[in-house]
Amino acid sequence: MTQPKRAIHILPLQTYLGIGSALLILTVVTVWVATIDLGPINLLVAMIIAAAKASLVALFFMHLKYDNKLYAVILLGALLFLAAFVVFTMFDTMDRGIIDGVRAGPINDQAVIYEQSTSGPTLPPAESVRSDTVLHREISPSE
């Protein structure tokens, strides 16, 4: 082909080692910050540090900084849909109970549910199957 070929982009060794060190330092920082009580800000700080680490990995180790920008768009698109997924689900789950009064129950109540499902699981399905077949028999002669 006549179009000029791009040379393979090879990063210097120092870049990889530097980014690796930065990631390790940020790991130490995130463990250290977690020992300080900042209230609800703790989660925010931890997520900002994690996002910074993720950006370093994506930009340098995954070469997004140097590659075709289409790949970065794909990654950001995935994160955008993930954000929409989580945020809109939270709109629902955080407002439950306002109308119908649903509450989280204690573990023992949960255990009762598990016991029910293990002790007599055969009865309800068998019954429903039977009623289905009866329904079919009733319909077929009339048609």
């Binding site: 990063l11 989660l43 789950t93 949960q110």
Partner: protein
């Protein structure tokens, strides 16, 4: 394929339906990134699961997380980040046509991945012993608050799916190391190593978020 390409003066690795090596590599990367997108959304379901239950039970999440070993989690974070560095260096070595250095870096990545899984095994074994298990298998009684089994459901599902990805990654890295040793790659053609690297870095990326979310709740 290769005979025709050789006759036309092009590289043996070039498939006939691509214009040139660069287009072939870009297409492979595009496919890989779309695969990584589906991986992010796969884990996204679990991150959503985590967000809902943590928002519902903030105190229980805090109490339950104190039963995770921060030291082991931090060591695993360091191990996985280091393995990402060696994986990136493996690709760089192959770009420079250094087969031996590529193999050494791939083996280092494999070794670090094994260390990660061994540490994970000890963490899991400890929790199995105490009965800190998901759902109805939960028998531990040392955590106050409602439904602490939910935290361990989240914990085992997220770290378990991540662990499966580490295992698959090790398999692929092993295969890539074998092909490298057979001389299948060069400074002109190293796309499979690069794709493996992208996958491995994503596994690292997910752990970067899992570590603070599970081990460092304050």
């Amino acid at each position: 394929m290769s005979a025709e390409n050789a006759a036309a003066g092009t590289a043996a690795h070039l498939q006939h339906h691509f214009v040139d090596s660069e287009q072939q590599q870009e297409s492979a990367k595009l496919g890989m990134w779309i695969f990584l997108l589906t991986e992010i959304l796969l884990f996204g379901g679990l991150f959503c699961f985590y967000a809902i239950y943590r928002a519902w039970n903030p105190e229980m999440f805090y109490d339950a997380h104190t039963h995770l070993d921060i030291t082991l989690g931090a060591i695993n974070t360091v191990v996985l980040i280091t393995s990402s560095v060696t994986m990136a260096l493996a690709i760089r070595s192959m770009q420079l046509d250094q087969k031996r250095a590529t193999l050494l870096n791939l083996f280092a990545t494999l070794a670090l991945a094994s260390v990660f899984l061994v540490i994970k095994y000890f963490e899991y074994a400890h929790k199995f012993e105490l009965g800190q298990l998901p759902g109805k298998y939960y028998t531990f009684e040392g955590i106050a608050g409602s439904n602490p089994h939910v935290f361990f459901s989240v914990y085992f599902m997220m770290t378990g799916l991540h662990g499966i990805h580490v295992l698959i990654g090790m398999g692929v890295i092993g295969w890539i190391a074998y092909r490298t040793s057979k001389g299948h790659f060069s400074g002109k053609y190293y796309t499979p190593i690069e794709m493996t690297g992208l996958y491995w870095h994503l596994v690292d990326l997910i752990w970067i978020f899992l570590f603070p979310l599970l081990y460092l709740i304050s």
